[in-house]
């Protein structure tokens, strides 16, 4: 078990380093921050001074080594725009993002899984067809379309909810709805097929042959098995809690991490973008690690394989 954990952690660390490196190189190859920040009309000596000030004239490998050195001392650099520490800029945005992504995740799980399981248990019924149809609808509509449609209906036409901003809790409703609808559809569909798969297994017939009431067959024998594949999907959703709302935050001018990404990339604010990508990569990798360990808890077959590792 212990070597298994170490291997997993090593792989996670490697993933983060790769993301960091990739972000570093691509950002520097794809545009000049001096040009963007100072504007096209800036005098040449101002541009030169800026490049000198941020070390942009050094060879890229030198810049990269300097960056690594910084990171190892937990120094994530400062924003080129307003000189404030990049990490602070990122961290102060996280609560706003989580304020919409966590309720959205709860809705996805709380509505998606029960709907999928119900559909699987009442296969070919009207309810089943309804769930299939709604879930296809949910996950095929892009969030920017869905967001705009919701704004059109609830903000513009009905006037019930604000169309953007972060002042009251009502402002969070439309972003949360937009974020959760796709995930509800995906989870419903996935839970339905996982449950149908499990219900066809011989051990379900055994549980029935034993004389267990149908309710116990479903709760004690089918669900614990169906949950195993569903956990993977939830893991992805947890990993996307911090970075998953770029589009929605832009539509609803929600001042979260997603807005910061858009603004920082547009401004080529290197330190901030790098710090953002690092935090996002770390959150996804940690979520994946958690899923891996959850698997072990839920599936005794995997636990044994790992012990033998």
């Amino acid at each position: 078990m212990f070597p298994f954990i170490l291997a997993k952690i090593a792989r996670a660390a490697l993933t983060i380093v790769l993301v960091m490196t990739f972000a570093f190189v691509v950002l520097r190859m794809s545009g000049d921050p001096a040009q963007v920040l100072l504007g096209p009309d800036a005098p040449q000596d101002a541009v030169d001074a800026f490049r000198e000030r941020w070390g942009l004239n050094d060879p890229i490998w030198q810049q990269y080594l300097a960056y690594l050195e910084q990171i190892l001392t937990f120094d994530f650099g400062v924003s080129m725009r307003d000189q404030s520490p990049a990490l602070d800029l990122v961290l102060e945005r996280i609560p706003a993002t989580l304020a919409i992504t966590i309720p959205a995740l709860i809705l996805k799980i709380g509505i998606g899984i029960p709907a999928g399981v119900y559909a699987a248990l009442h296969r070919e019924s009207v309810a089943d067809r309804g769930v299939i149809m709604l879930s296809i609808f949910g996950f095929t509509i892009p969030s920017f379309v869905l967001g705009l449609v919701l704004v059109l209906i609830f903000a513009v036409t009905l006037g019930w909810l604000p169309s953007g901003g972060q002042d009251t809790w009502q402002h969070a409703i439309l972003p949360i709805a937009t974020l959760s609808i796709g995930g509800i559809g995906i989870l419903a569909r996935f839970s339905r097929s996982a449950m149908i798969e499990v219900l066809g297994q011989p051990y379900i017939r055994t549980a029935m042959a034993k004389g267990l009431p149908w309710r116990d067959v479903v709760w004690k024998h089918a669900l614990p098995n169906a949950v195993i594949p569903i956990i993977t999907l939830i893991g992805f959703m947890v990993g996307a809690l911090i970075a998953g709302a770029v589009v929605v935050e832009s539509i609803f001018s929600w001042p979260g991490v997603g807005r910061l990404i858009v603004v920082s990339v547009a401004n080529r604010d290197l330190a901030v973008v790098q710090c953002l990508l690092l935090v996002i990569a770390a959150s996804m990798v940690v979520a994946n690690l958690c899923v891996d360990f959850a698997y072990g808890l839920l599936d005794p077959r995997l636990r044994q394989k790992r012990a033998a590792h």
Partner: protein
């Protein structure tokens, strides 16, 4: 009166009839074999009787246990019979146990359900049952998961689980098909010794005539959703009447037959969607006449015991052998 009695049981899936009126009686403590090729309806008969078929199956006819009707009964009534009066074990033992629960818990479920045992009492009884079916060091292995046992051991655990409800009848649905030959014999031995000890009745569903003859008092042979011959095991072996039964025996390799070729039954089982109008076996039958192609033989009692559904039944096996020798 027989303990379980099946009358004119018919099953259809999506409009395709797979069971065409089965009549079968199982007495208390009796062991009956149900023989036939895959898809002939031997498992479906019992899955239908116990309400274990998927909802889309259309079932008609009657299955009674000591007079209590099971077909069309409320779910709670059928659940009360399953496991407690009629238990069933299946073909693929490894996937018939729930992979995420310890075996002790799975046996304990039956003990709680049918005998009201909980906690330490249930645990002790589960250990006793595992011991009885021959799981070594049961007291410690009760906390293992199914994947930590071999296929043969999983079948033993399935048997322990079936015995937990102290059923009057055990349906063993091809219990040895997925197992190695040596393990097959062990499981069959176990089933017959348990049957002797507990006095419960047993139905052995199998395509293996050898297994059936080793364990059963009598047997019914099924073909394409019908019983074509039923008799006690000795008579069935010495004088198979239906050409299909005869064919099944001829297809068994004999240890002392030298290197002679086996005689397979030519052709394949007919598609249940397109059954021939007459006897379903007629297209493959060496004895079929034109009459057989158009008329359906009924299962009729025979003068010397047993039931046969055939217009041109075989003579006794000895006579048939002689005739064959003469031709050769």
């Amino acid at each position: 009166m027989s303990f379980v009695s099946i009358r004119d049981l018919r099953v259809a899936f999506d409009g395709v009839q797979v069971l065409h009126g089965i009549d079968l009686d199982i007495g208390k403590g009796e062991t009956v074999g149900l023989v036939g090729e895959s898809g002939c309806g031997k498992s479906v008969t019992w899955l239908a009787a116990l309400g274990l078929l998927p909802g889309k199956a259309q079932i008609s006819g009657s299955v009674t246990i000591e007079g209590q009707e099971l077909i069309g009964a409320r779910p709670a009534e059928v659940e009360a019979v399953r496991g407690a009066r009629i238990a069933m074990i299946f073909q693929d033992p490894s996937s018939s146990l729930n992979p995420v629960h310890r075996v002790g818990r799975q046996i304990g479920e039956s003990l709680r359900l049918h005998r009201g045992l909980r906690g330490a009492a249930a645990r002790n009884e589960a250990v006793r049952l595992l011991d009885m079916v021959g799981i070594p060091s049961a007291a410690t292995r009760i906390d293992l998961y199914p994947h930590e046992f071999s296929g043969g051991q999983c079948q033993r655990i399935m048997i322990a689980m079936a015995l937990a409800g102290q059923p009057d009848l055990l349906i063993a649905d091809e219990p040895t098909t997925a197992l190695d030959a040596t393990i097959q014999a062990q499981i069959l031995d176990l089933l017959s010794s348990i049957r002797r000890e507990t006095g419960m009745a047993m139905v052995l569903i199998s395509h293996d005539l050898g297994a059936v003859s080793a364990v059963c008092d009598r047997a019914a042979v099924m073909y394409a959703g019908r019983i074509v011959e039923a008799n006690d095991i000795a008579r069935l072996f010495t004088g198979p009447k239906h050409p299909y039964t005869r064919g099944l025996f001829d297809a068994i390799p004999e240890m002392d037959a030298g290197r002679a070729r086996l005689r397979p039954i030519e052709g394949t089982v007919p598609d249940p969607k397109h059954l021939p109008p007459g006897c379903a076996f007629a297209p493959r039958c060496p004895r079929a006449s034109g009459f057989c192609q158009s008329h359906l033989p009924e299962l009729k009692p025979q003068v010397r015991g047993g039931f046969v559904a055939c217009f041109h039944p075989e003579a006794t096996r000895a006579a048939a052998r002689e005739r064959q020798a003469a031709v050769a």
